[in-house]
């Protein structure tokens, strides 16, 4: 018994030394980052990161929480993410149910100076038409470039509040990018106007806002995440729909298994193509210079091929 007690005490001792040394590391870290003047900004996932980068430029220290290429629906924060958030100035997220982890994270951090921005707040949200999920609204607002503009404005306002000394810089960047978003919107409108067909079959219901803005109609293969399979009846429904409307393409996403889309495409003699909902971008693609604008234009090209 005595020996067990001694062993237990030793274990506690070792653990506490480890925890203490961990803490002291953190304090050194703190001092290190305190010397820089840039504000530290965290974003939840790729579109938020890209928008913030476009406005904050090199005046902010920007970190994306959900790593490149990961589905933002099933991400969870690591302890070091939490430590970083305790020291952050601004946290930018989409909201509307996109980040189902955000409430837990916000409730558990005690960072009083943290400015949080829910960019989808105040936008006109679409109801979630997939009743099997418990989301109230469709969160994929950024795929409508006019709504993306409003999200960017919310981000700009937050950065100005957190760092008023660079106000002009942020305002100018916002104005530039707002202009680019207007151009993108015009491009979409002009291209879609020439489409013969308006129906698309997509992997998961992500393109509601895009479709609403430009008069397209999406049919989503039900809840197509990696671990849920469609029922055969649903597949038949989609096959019939695709045949009746003579669809040439079935779309899937980079982050989701393409197997079901391929099976349906084979059935109707269509091709498959990637339509990117921009929930994440692989690191290689970011390095290759891809961003919101280039991916949105790629999507437009793919849509053009499929519908014109």
């Amino acid at each position: 018994m005595k020996r067990v007690m001694v062993g237990f005490l030793c274990l506690i001792l070792v653990l506490s030394v480890m925890i203490l040394s961990g803490c002291s590391n953190n304090t050194i870290d703190n001092q290190g980052s305190g010397s820089g003047k840039k504000i530290s900004v965290y974003t939840s996932f790729y579109p938020m990161y890209d928008f913030t980068k476009k406005i904050g430029g090199d005046k902010i220290n920007l970190t994306n929480l959900v790593p490149a290429g990961t589905e933002p629906h099933d991400w969870e924060p690591t302890p070091s993410d939490m430590v970083n958030l305790e020291k952050a100035d601004v946290l930018i997220y989409n909201g509307a149910g996109m980040e189902n982890w955000i409430d837990k994270v916000l409730n558990s951090i005690k960072n009083k100076k943290l400015i949080t921005v829910e960019t989808a707040k105040g936008l006109k949200l679409l109801d979630n038409s997939d009743k099997s999920e418990d989301l109230m609204y469709d969160p994929h607002v950024w795929l409508n470039s006019m709504l993306a503009k409003q999200q960017m404005e919310a981000i700009k306002n937050a950065l100005v509040t957190a760092d008023p000394s660079n106000k002009d810089y942020y305002e100018k960047n916002y104005a530039d990018n707002a202009k680019k978003l207007d151009d993108l919107d015009q491009e979409y409108k002009a291209t879609v106007a020439k489409f013969k067909s308006k129906d698309i079959v997509v992997a998961h219901q992500a393109f509601g806002y895009l479709c609403e803005a430009y008069g397209l109609k999406e049919v989503a293969i039900e809840g197509l995440t990696a671990d849920s399979e469609p029922s055969p009846a649903r597949m038949v429904e989609i096959v019939k729909f695709a045949k009746e409307n003579n669809l040439k393409f079935i779309f899937f996403e980079e982050l989701v298994s393409p197997k079901v889309a391929q099976a349906i495409a084979k059935e109707v003699g269509a091709e498959t193509a990637v339509l990117n909902p921009l929930e994440g971008l692989e690191e290689d693609d970011i390095k290759a210079g891809k961003d919101y604008f280039s991916v949105m234009r790629e999507n437009l090209e793919v849509l053009k091929k499929a519908l014109e």
């Binding site: 490149a68 990696a226 469609p230 029922s231």
Partner: protein, 280 residues
């Protein structure tokens, strides 16, 4: 032609379903009797670690999954030797190893795509390549089970007696473990983890209730697996259910019916025996 067979993906689902329903219980009988019923779950968690390792070190993730699954199956075999009377310890140890490795290795993956999507399998979304893979695999498993029938029977019940009877148990065990690992990892990606790990156990459990010999158990288990898969697929088609879950639940319902039937039957036999006794 029936409406259900008019679609290419349903035809493939039925062909694959039939093949999987034949080979899985053949392996499942040995697995269940060796008390390794949870091996399907254990190996699929290790497959996930294999996908992570493949992505981290630039290998093909599917190949990584198969290799990890094979290593895990041999790991279970080894740990089982240290705890001869508690096979489930081996399963739990190797399953935790897989989960732990997947968690750590995923941190090394730079472009961490959705891991699960590499292992995604659904009986209604099978590619041509996967269909041929399952046909080839089935041929190998069926041949192995027919030719090694007596040997497998021996090592399942009593390895000691098998050794005395002159059966090369080491190589038989090696072949069997390899077959199990490859079957599980290939089928998990084709028809899904749920279907494969339940077809390993449910038909065997149902067959054990009514069969009177080892051979009967194998035959009944295959028949039950075919019933589960074919009726599960048809029900899911007409009732708009998810196919994997439907197949499993048909199996569970059948098992419950067989259990109730046996219970009623044995009570009736006891009653009759008592009545006869009283008459005398």
């Amino acid at each position: 032609m029936l409406e259900i067979f008019q679609y290419d993906f349903m035809q493939k689902a039925f062909i694959t379903g039939i093949l999987i329903a034949i080979i899985t219980p053949c392996i499942g009988v040995v697995v269940v009797l060796k008390r390794l019923s949870m091996i399907g779950d254990s190996l699929s968690h290790n497959s996930l670690a294999g996908v992570a390792a493949g992505l981290a070190f630039g290998l093909n993730p599917i190949l990584g999954a198969v290799l990890f699954s094979i290593a895990a199956a041999f790991g279970i075999d080894r740990v089982r030797k240290s705890f001869p009377r508690y096979s489930e310890i081996a399963i739990a140890v190797i399953m935790s190893t897989g989960i732990g490795l997947a968690g750590i290795l995923s941190g090394f993956v730079k472009n961490s795509a959705n891991f699960n999507s590499f292992l995604f399998g659904s009986i209604v979304a099978i590619s041509d390549f996967e269909l041929y893979l399952v046909i080839g695999l089935s041929a190998i498993v069926i041949l192995a089970v027919i030719f090694l029938f007596k040997e497998l029977f021996y090592i399942t019940f009593d390895e000691e007696a098998a050794r005395l009877a002159g059966i090369p148990i080491k190589s038989i065990n090696f072949v069997f473990t390899l077959l199990t690992a490859v079957t599980i990892s290939v089928s998990a990606r084709t028809v899904g983890t749920l279907v494969i790990s339940s077809l390993m156990v449910l038909p065997v459990a149902t067959a054990m209730q009514i069969a009177k010999s080892y051979k009967q158990t194998v035959v009944f288990a295959v028949i039950f697996a075919l019933i589960f898969t074919l009726s599960g697929l048809s029900i899911s088609y007409y009732a708009d259910f998810k196919p994997g879950g439907t197949i499993v639940l048909v199996g569970i319902l059948t098992l419950i019916c067989v259990l109730i039937y046996k219970n009623v039957l044995s009570k009736a036999i006891v009653k009759r025996a008592i009545r006869c006794h009283n008459h005398n």
